[in-house]
Symmetry: C2
Subunit: 391 residues, 2 copies
Amino acid sequence: MTNISTDKVRLGIIGLGAQGSTYARFISTGMVPNMEIGAICEPDPSKADLLRTEYSGVPFFTDYIEMLDSGEVDAVVTCVPHYLHPEMGIYALQRGVHALVEKPAGVYTKQVAELNAFAATKPDLTFAIMFNQRNNPLYQRIKQIVDSGEIGRIRRTNWIITTWWRPQGYYDQSAWRATWGGEGGGVLVNQAPHQLDLWQWICGIPRSVYAKVAYGFRRDIAVEDEVTAVVDYGDGATGTFVTATHDLVGTDRFEILGDNGKIVVENSKTATVTRLKRPERDISDGMDMQDVQRLFTGQLKTDDYYTTEVIEFESPWGAQHAGVLENFAANIQDGTALLAPGSDGINGVRLANAIHLSSWTGKEIPLDFDEDDYLIELNKRIREEGKFPER
Amino acid sequence: MTNISTDKVRLGIIGLGAQGSTYARFISTGMVPNMEIGAICEPDPSKADLLRTEYSGVPFFTDYIEMLDSGEVDAVVTCVPHYLHPEMGIYALQRGVHALVEKPAGVYTKQVAELNAFAATKPDLTFAIMFNQRNNPLYQRIKQIVDSGEIGRIRRTNWIITTWWRPQGYYDQSAWRATWGGEGGGVLVNQAPHQLDLWQWICGIPRSVYAKVAYGFRRDIAVEDEVTAVVDYGDGATGTFVTATHDLVGTDRFEILGDNGKIVVENSKTATVTRLKRPERDISDGMDMQDVQRLFTGQLKTDDYYTTEVIEFESPWGAQHAGVLENFAANIQDGTALLAPGSDGINGVRLANAIHLSSWTGKEIPLDFDEDDYLIELNKRIREEGKFPER
């Protein structure tokens, strides 16, 4: 179905807001060699002029279904409010158009599960999600280290990620932002989905979560701007995840402790990897009382027990997103493995939903919670808000 | 009652283990100018020889009550297993002897409340606790910054403190260690009490706690070697506290976010203090859409919004403990304000008890939990363990 004359995947961009116009620029400036802009869909007429001058010659639609049916696009990316991702993904796949959904895959797991179930019936079509951070070489390397067993079974994970300060004016930009009915949540659905994904991608999916969430804590918004969650991996291992949008001097510090080592990632830029020369439990068991004495008097050399490596990569802005677009197109073209299969998108949504549910009920929530329970609670908040229809 | 000939407070040291012998050395080498060793009480006869050679001339007792009644001491310090601190404190005060209890003040709040209640009936006697970290100039400065309101009302606190790696041999040193009946807990009662105290001393007492605690997780012990707790301050502010004894490459990172600034303490050594030039909420509210745009394109200069100060102090080993001993003696002599009044000891015990209770019940526990509930649960574990009498 790809354009025979150029062999490039013709992408239809749905929504030319901040994200959609960025992707358009990446493609039009050649950052995604196996892709071209097939068409653009933007319902806002005020943006039409910009489109026609900047992307002259590119077919323009105000209705994305018309674009899907036009034959101008092989694939689409959904740069629209989160609630719309699942239905747009389904409509695209129904019409034989490959789908790259923006993060989060949706707002509530029930709709994302429907998307995944439908996508599973279309194995010949490519279904992916824009988890550009999976294309960050630093996180790829960390996943590799953890997956290979170099630091052993995980004991504990802790991530404080508050580097997305958002002033009140950001929230006041549009009526759907930071509302239950329009956006479906705050920092968990807008800013943190990448980290909610990476955390599970690297460390595994927890069994349950307990969370304290503050809604409109330091911003005039209905949704959450402060989250503290503790997860239980079911084998004694635990984790914490802290995020907020009101920390002007944000923190980004991710720590993973394993049986055979430790990784500390600072500012998503520098990872300090400690590899023990023997499993920690063996070191502990192998020390006699004299060693213990030496330990407490500072006479044990830590170098005898571990090595330390500091890892940093250059990751210029844009390269991650462009790389995901390229990987998506390559999967369409020749079956190159996807960095972020679309079906993975549900994990972060499930964790975000469980965090909300825990804060609403005051209980620890299993990750396999009843998805109808979440929707009922979400609709309750949409109803009280009174601005958007229930889901 | 102090020794008229020297004007020094004559301290009776109860227990000449690691801690007691350290204090004896501090005093005998003149690190505590207003104190002298009045007597030593050590029930273990194998230590008697050491005592007689190293502290010749110092009265020696095997029964601490006899020492209290001997007239040789003005004050005592209780360097004995945690369960004994409250009763020894009470017996000393009953006999008109000033009491410095080791940390933790006790194992369960009920016994510590009894100690506090009794001490309150003896206002003329000095009752203090060995929270030597309160004598760390770095934490004193941080408390001063927080108390003065420089960083505003607290929004969030996070402490990961895992810098006390303990090999199995440490736990196997004595029969009471890391047992329910002999020690009453693991990392929460032995290693972390200083941080449980500092955390509340600086950031205030939380309203409730929810915790995941792993017992004998990576050590062959009955008690906890891994703790993840989330606290709720009752006003939307939250905190986390993570501690463990099996992290060979320990982390010590304490972060306090306030309405007007932030403090990050690393390794109990370096504090990075950010002071906002205006309250964060004002900065947020004062930004128009153009500022928001500039923010996202990296055109806002952070220097316009805050200043950063890095604070470090020298705190040579021993100075903190010696300083607490000196402050205790000074309070006896001339009423100098106590760094760590004995009655403060209950706060950390209460938090440790609440963390245990939460993990045992799977529920969020208010800090004013019923202290009988805790003792019932603790005794259940002592009974199952079958090594020590119930309390």
